[in-house]
């Protein structure tokens, strides 16, 4: 049984360039359904996310935030336009290559159901590396685990952890591979405000101290205020861009969308 790495052509090497964005799209379009139920989720979205920065994507429900993130992360394919992750054009990659991309170059923190219930916290954290058959950088692991305050919880199963702890485990997992970019889809949506604040502070610290690029989808202005930059979306388009946002500026920008 071959359950090891899939034999496929190697990932395209990122083209060398100065200050390549962590992720970028060019005229990205995505349509769901057909006929009456046709929904244009993304309408020619062109956006670049700087490397080493923590960016939040905001917008009303149904504006296409999740769709954009799924396309950027290689979880979903676009209809037209192009997507680059860490300088690699991933628009035309097949499933096997996208899978490797996700395993090696991208990290995820989802809103819920982030962890495999049958694995311990530690096994969950090292899962992407184990999937690729790689070796865990134990020093890095220890550093992340310590800085996320998970050292005491490594042998626990997900159901023995609180919601906040579970999300922190997910963050640790996302950081461990030093990915080009970490994606978060409402990573604090299921948490109470204190746990949420903890996780958000962690994400900001990873970006500031470790230079980790992070793209986070949220509809919470408080959450967005932790980011270096907020990108606003409405009805499948980019409609705004805030640098160094705070809660108030985000709120007023959102109010401008009529949301």
């Amino acid at each position: 049984m071959t359950t090891r790495t899939e034999q496929s052509s190697p990932l395209p090497v990122p083209s060398e360039g100065h200050a390549a964005p962590a992720a970028a799209t060019d005229a990205l379009c995505k349509t769901y359904g057909s006929g009456d139920t046709r929904v244009q989720a993304l309408k020619e979205v062109t956006v670049a996310f700087e490397s080493g920065k923590f960016t939040a994507i905001m917008g009303p429900s149904g504006s296409g935030k999740s769709t954009l993130m799924h396309c950027l992360a290689g979880l979903d394919s676009a209809d037209s336009g192009s997507i680059r992750v860490g300088g690699t054009d991933i628009t035309a990659l097949g499933d096997a290559q996208l899978t490797r991309l996700r395993r090696e170059r991208v990290g995820f923190v989802f809103q819920a159901f982030n962890l495999v219930p049958t694995l311990t916290a530690e096994q969950n954290i090292t899962l992407p590396i184990a999937l690729g058959g790689g070796k865990v950088d134990t020093e890095w692991l220890d550093y992340i685990v310590a800085s996320l305050g998970l050292a005491e919880r490594l042998k626990h199963r997900p159901h023995e952890l609180s919601g906040g702890q579970q999300q922190r485990v997910a963050v640790a997992r996302a950081l461990l591979t030093r990915p080009d970019v970490v994606f978060g889809d409402e990573p604090t949506g299921n948490l109470d405000s204190r746990s949420g604040a903890e996780v958000l502070a962690l994400l900001r610290r990873s970006s500031q101290e470790m230079g980790q690029s992070i793209i986070m989808v949220t509809h919470d202005p408080v959450a967005a205020s932790y980011a270096d930059r907020v990108v606003l979306m409405n009805d499948g388009r980019l409609v705004g861009d805030l640098a160094s946002p705070d809660t108030d500026s985000v709120l007023s920008a959102l109010a401008g969308l009529g949301a």
């Binding site: 899939e6 979880l75 499933d95 049958t118 184990a130 999937l131 159901h159």
Partner: protein, 837 residues
């Protein structure tokens, strides 16, 4: 609540497909079984009626009271005179010897009816025989290459060699070719039809041709019932006693009943296997419904929240079971009927079984479907009870992994343990005393007990087997964990498979052990592999040229002609004593036997210390050395034979024998072929070849056929269990959609996902098969010991190759079972998977 149940079945029809298939197969098997007896009786009726196919009324002898020829003649005459009777045919039959073109044999000769309309066979070519003529059945005509106009010699069947009888026969001309009769009493034998005069001429006065029956044809417009009564009166008036007058249809029914003895040995056996299949199916159904209920915990809790009471919940689950059970049971009955119709249709196409007929007894349909529905509902009872235990609060709790609670199982475990222990003791006792009647209930009891305890030992074993899977990295580790994630589910799935595999392995080991026991027993029963007793069919004794010819056959290791050395008085009978040449000693089964010039080798239990051998020149008293064999002719050395002087050649009570040693690696089929070839080549009848190798081959063939049939029947249960494996896996995969999507998002490739699920299925199926094989070997050996221990020493003999292929089949089937669920899981994109709440 009915609407809920209906909606559930409709919305999740796919989840019920596998269970439906399992029920369908089990019900189909059961229903087909119920149709076998009726169909074989109907087929038999077709053959039994062949001899009076054209008659309207049949006057037949009563049981144990053959028709007196003279009385039958007058009864026939009286019948002919009865109003409404148009034709009469007094059917008679004699056994005769025939010869044509250098071939001789025995067959049956029947008389021709004076009224052609009542002739008991169909004329295919030529004409009905007149004086000096005979009609031959097509099969025989083909074999003897006889056409119309050819000459055939018929003679009364005198001795045991057809060729010898022929001297007293007469030559007849073949007038026509008739269709071979399928009547069970004559089927397969050479059949001839000739006018009465010829039959009379060929049946000696001391054994006249037997009267089979008197057949009557009715005049146009005559009423069968009225004429039957009139003929009945006429027949008794004519003095024919014990006879019955029946219509042809009634007579057929009576004869079928007489032939089957009213009993039906096949159906109970088939029924036992069908019940095993139904039981296994019940396990699969129960498991499926437990999984479905577990998956619907939140829905059920919601129903409870909005006011559904426990009874309603239970009823809702049972209604689902009823629905699924009814649909698939009906489908099963239909499939069974279609299968049987197809089978019978195919048989009808075959020349040897053209008489096959399909009969569906009225009870088969409701019984088959009813059993399936009942089984499904019963199997759903426990899951339905589990559904009622769902607390309304569960709806409000966030989704959690269902933890398998094991509180209720405790009582079952204890009962199972006690049953296992008690059964094992009884089984051991049965084996020790070599009593199958004791061992059988013991084995059954212990097996049921083990099945009840399956949840104790199956999950740990699967877990242990999963340890090496860690070598496959994360997917392997996850597969090993997932395989025992729901221990109850895993044991139920494995148990269903384990039952079939245990029974198959038991049969295989039992057969192999019995074979070995029988082989070693046979080795001592017969002096040599094959011995051929003379004379040849042409009456000549076997000679050295025959020995040389036999040695040339492929598979014959050595051959020797053992000639008489003289005679001796054994048990008051004049018995031939044979000479064993030194180079012939290697032909003997028992190579430890020593033959010197002062002793004679004799069969076991001769009861004498010395034997006096008398030859043509003198006699000699020899010390008896008993061999282990029961069928050992007295053997003396060449020197002794020379001393007493060999008797004149051709003495009929001491004909030379041809002894053969055959190659050790010859299998049963090859041996049977060798036997046929040798018989044909040496011009002897097959029965004249006997010996350890022949007996062994015959026994092995019987065992092989039985094993094949039994394995085929058990395969149904195994198939159902494998459907269960696929079903459990696919339900578990559904349950783990989000988890699979997460793993995919994190970098698990499609192939890794498929491999993971395949490994999970292989673990469960493989461990179930291994446990089943281990149990089967144990049961098979103990069973063989119980059945045969009284006659032979039974050493366990494990058919590794067969058991290995059982394991391979289980593993491959496990792999296949994972294909569909894995494909579905792998097709799902991570985004979609994460979206399903």
């Amino acid at each position: 609540m009915l609407t809920v149940a209906l909606a559930e079945v409709k919305a999740h029809a796919r989840r019920f497909v596998a269970v439906g298939i399992a029920v369908m197969v089990a019900v189909g098997f059961l229903t087909a079984t119920l149709m076998v007896n009726a169909s074989s009786e109907a087929s038999l009726a077709n053959t039994v009626g062949a001899g009076f196919r054209n008659a309207d009324l049949v006057i037949a002898p009563g049981p144990d009271e053959p028709l007196e020829p003279a009385a039958a003649e007058s009864a026939a005459a009286a019948s002919a005179a009865t109003g409404g009777v148009a034709q009469t045919y007094l059917q008679r039959q004699a056994y005769i010897a025939f010869g044509a073109a250098g071939t001789a044999g025995f067959g049956v000769l029947q008389n021709l009816s004076k009224d052609t309309a009542l002739n008991p066979a169909e004329l295919l070519r030529g004409s009905w025989p007149a004086a000096g003529e005979v009609a031959v059945d097509e099969a025989t005509a083909k074999r003897l290459q006889l056409a119309e106009g050819a000459t055939l010699r018929l003679a009364p069947a005198g001795g045991s060699v057809a060729a010898e009888s022929l001297a007293a026969g007469r030559d007849l001309t073949v007038s026509g070719i008739i269709e071979p009769s399928n009547d069970p009493l004559t089927m397969g034998q050479p059949q001839f039809l000739a006018p009465d005069a010829i039959l009379d001429g060929l049946s000696p006065a001391e054994s006249p041709a037997a009267v089979l029956n008197i057949q009557l044809g009715l005049a146009d417009g005559a009423d069968a019932g009225t004429v039957r009564d009139a003929v009945g009166a006429a027949v008794s008036a004519a003095g024919l006693r014990g006879a019955t007058v029946n219509t042809a249809a009634e007579h057929t029914k009576e004869r079928v009943a007489g032939l089957t003895g009213g009993s039906d040995p096949i159906t109970p056996v088939l029924l036992a296997f069908a019940l095993v299949a139904i039981f296994v199916c019940g396990l699969v159904v129960a498991n499926t419904f437990s999984v479905l209920v577990a998956q619907r915990t939140r829905d059920l809790a919601l129903l409870r929240c909005i006011g559904a009471d426990r009874k309603q919940i239970r009823r809702s689950v049972l209604v689902e079971a009823l629905l699924v059970g009814t649909l698939s049971s009906v489908a099963g009955v239909v499939v069974a009927m279609a299968l049987m119709a197809g089978l019978v249709g195919w048989l009808r196409q075959q020349p040897d079984t053209a008489f096959a007929a399909l009969a569906i007894p009225p009870f088969a349909v409701p019984l088959g479907a009813g059993a399936g529905i009942l089984m499904t509902v019963l199997a759903a009872l426990a899951p339905a009870r589990a559904a009622t235990a769902v607390a309304p609060l569960a709806a409000l709790r966030p989704f959690e992994e269902a933890r398998a609670g094991n509180r209720k199982g405790r009582a079952r475990l204890w009962i199972g343990l006690v049953l296992t222990a008690a059964g094992a003791v009884v089984l051991g006792l049965g084996a020790a005393r070599a009593s199958l009647l004791v061992a059988l209930p013991g084995g059954l009891l212990s097996f049921i007990g083990l099945l009840m305890c399956a949840s104790v030992f199956v999950p740990p074993l699967v877990s242990a087997a999963g340890a090496p899977a860690r070598a496959f990295g994360v997917p392997g580790r996850l597969a090993a964990v997932n395989a025992v994630r729901n221990p109850g589910r895993t044991s139920a799935t494995a148990t269903a498979l384990l039952i079939g595999v245990t029974l198959v392995a038991m049969m295989m080991t039992g057969a192999q052990t019995a074979r070995t026991a029988f082989d070693s027993e046979l080795a001592t029963q017969y002096p040599v592999d094959v011995s051929i007793a003379g004379p040849a069919m042409d009456g000549t004794a076997l000679d050295a040229r025959d020995a040389a010819a036999a040695a040339e056959y492929d598979g014959v290791a050595a051959a020797g002609l053992v000639t008489p050395a003289g005679f001796a008085e054994v048990d008051g009978m004049r018995t031939g004593v044979y000479r064993l040449l030194p180079e012939q000693k290697r032909l003997l089964q028992d190579q430890t036997l020593v033959l010197d010039d002062e002793s004679v080798l004799m069969a076991e239990g001769s009861g004498v210390a010395t034997l006096t051998v008398t030859g043509s020149r003198g006699e000699k008293e020899l010390t008896v050395v008993e061999t282990g064999s029961m069928a050992f002719p007295p053997l003396v050395s060449a020197a002794v034979a020379d001393e007493v002087g060999a008797p004149a050649a051709g003495s009929p009570d001491a004909l030379p024998q041809l002894w053969l040693a055959v190659d050790r690696d010859l299998d049963a089929a090859a041996l049977m072929q060798l036997r046929a070839d040798l018989a044909a080549g040496l011009g002897v009848e097959e029965y004249q070849l006997s010996g350890a190798a022949i007996e062994r081959a015959a026994f092995n063939q019987v065992i092989d056929v039985l094993l094949l049939v039994v394995t085929g029947l058990l395969a149904v249960a195994v198939l159902i269990a494998l459907v269960g494996v696929a079903n459990t896996l696919s339900l578990s995969v559904l349950e783990r959609t989000r988890e699979s999507a997460l793993l995919r998002a994190l970098g698990l490739t499609r192939r890794q996902l498929r491999g993971m699920l395949a490994l999970e299925a292989v673990l469960v199926a493989g461990v179930a098969a291994l446990i089943g094989i281990a149990l089967g070997v144990l049961y098979g050996w103990l069973g063989a010991q119980s059945a045969l221990g009284a006659f032979a020493t039974v050493a366990p003999d494990v058919p590794w190759l067969q058991l290995g292929s059982v394991l391979a089949v289980a593993v491959i089937a496990g792999l296949l079972a994972s294909v569909l669920p894995a494909r579905r899981a792998a097709r799902l994109s991570p985004v979609e998977g994460l979206a399903t709440a």
